[in-house]
Amino acid sequence: MLYALMGLGLSLITGILNIPNFAHGALFAVGAYFLVSCALFMGNFWVALVVAPIGVALLGLVIEYAGIRRLYAAGHDYQLLFTFGLALILSESIILVWGPIGSSYLPPDVLRGGADLGFTMYPKYRLFVMVAAGLLVFATWLFLEKTRYGAIMRAGIENKEMVSLLGIDIKMLFTVAFGLGAYLAGIAGALIAPIRGLNPGMGPDMLGIAFVVVALGGLGNLLGAIAAGLIIGIAQALVAAYWTEASTVVIYAVMAVILLVRPQGLFGIR
């Protein structure tokens, strides 16, 4: 479900802004680090969980406004280089601020330990993450499908000129979309911090996964991103149970196999 969340954010950004966002993984990592710092500073996990992703979203807004906005007319190569440069800056800044060594962070007391589901024991915090991520995906879906601004965003994925001709501030739309995508990446990072701990390499690892989700699910395709995220998550979990070393590789292997059978992706048109 977290993969779906990551893929969804990236899907929004790539779908609407039409740029390859190589900084998405770094935003995810920043989200995780923000959460832990906020939680330690304020002594409250829940406040941190609210504040940290908003911080990431603000960062996203600044990045879009100050940099990416100037590059829509440039080719993908320069956009790629720019976001890649950003990713380097962000991940090196993480090392500068928080140090190169990873650390772990425990979930709040309420969510420690396991929950009895009747047939099996399951860690409470993971259960919480699943539910929270599911709710977030659902909320994003509601926003995009049921609200006016969500409809404008979907229209922006389909046809940007038409949307701007209708008198809608397309620049504003781009900024909001990037902010929202960054928010989703940030909250995914914040949620995962108590499970996987913190390390500076977490961004690039997640970036690859997010790309796989988008490549399989289709740009700007909400349901596709969810489905692809679930497929990959389940495949990884299954393989991890039997052959731990291969669990990262399997994500990409699954992608390669799916693309061999269906070059256009699961639901892709292009």
Binding site: P20, D77, L81, F82, L88
Partner: protein, 305 residues
């Protein structure tokens, strides 16, 4: 066309006097890598973000064969070229059917596939520590352990690569690739099998990357895990772009600037990738078109006076 060649010959001769031979070798190796990347990026308009896949796999396979099975180093160079081409054929086959952003993301994701394979397969690749013990070529009477001699070998292979790439770019194949870059639909309509030509560009580019990969491993005596990481792919894209993609000598100049920049920055500060990132951002915001174009503009301004 003659002038740049003379400049390159002069710089090959002078470079080892200015910087350490190892760094000088690294520059030309990176230039071979860039030549291959430029065939995709510049000439075919295929923005591949997975060039280190071919570079790294060739380095690992050739290095492993030399280390464990004692394969002759010159043969290993040939094998490296083959491995580069083969891995590029696999990646290319999966990628050429998609275009635009999908293409970029796929090349990156497949790069990650190879990276994590190398990362986890510690018994062969050494994982995070890299694969040490890659020997240099041996030839009676010539000592390749001497950095200057090895530098001569690298520059020689670089010149051959440059010559070959020039032939390729000027051949009908090169023209077709440029036609695809300019207008894919039209190239298709004229009757060219576009995916096949794209795949061919991948394979050739991969072969050059493979050569560079093996030379790199021999230079440092180790295949570091970074050699197959996406950062390396990003670096070669950057080097090609600052040099000015789409011109034959662009990536050569680019790798010159890039290696020099990164070497001098890395001695100053351990967190030098941060500066590199800043450099990327600044170049994109203010220096689009690369050094070649900036030079061109400067030249025009002076000639007007």
């Amino acid at each position: 066309m003659k002038r740049p060649l003379i400049w390159i010959l002069i710089s090959i001769l002078l470079l080892p006097l200015v910087v350490r031979p190892a760094i000088a070798s690294e520059i030309w190796i990176f230039a071979i890598f860039g030549l291959g990347a430029n065939l995709l990026l510049g000439y075919s308009g295929l923005l591949s973000f997975g060039q280190s896949t071919f570079f790294g796999s060739a380095a690992y396979v050739a290095g492993w064969l030399m280390k464990i099975h004692g394969v002759n180093a010159f043969l290993a160079l040939g094998i490296g070229v083959g491995v580069g081409a083969a891995s590029a054929a696999v990646v290319g086959y999966l990628c050429v059917q998609r275009s635009g952003l999908y293409f970029i993301m796929l090349t990156f994701a497949l790069n990650q596939l190879f990276y994590f394979t190398a990362y986890q397969w510690t018994s062969v690749t050494g994982g995070e520590d890299g694969m040490p013990g890659v020997p240099r070529p041996e030839f009676p009477g010539i000592d390749f352990k001497d950095p200057v001699v090895y530098y001569a070998l690298v520059s020689f292979l670089f010149l051959i690569s440059l010559f070959l790439m020039r032939k390729i770019v000027e051949s009908p194949l090169g023209r077709i690739l440029q036609a695809i870059r300019e207008n894919e639909v039209r190239a298709e309509a004229v009757g060219y099998n576009v995916p096949r030509f794209k795949l061919l560009a991948f394979v050739i580019g991969g072969a050059f990357s493979g050569l560079a990969g093996v030379l790199y491993a021999m230079l440092f005596g180790i295949v570091p895990l970074e050699a197959i990481s996406f950062v390396f792919s990003g670096n070669v894209v950057f080097a090609t772009l600052i040099g000015g993609s789409g011109s034959l000598y662009g990536p050569v100049i680019g790798s010159f600037v890039f290696i020099w920049l990164s070497e001098s920055m890395s001695t100053v500060w351990a967190r030098w990738p941060l500066l590199l990132g800043v450099a990327f951002v600044l170049v994109v915001l203010f220096l689009r078109g690369g050094v070649v174009e900036a030079w061109h503009k400067l030249f025009l301004r002076f000639s007007k006076r």
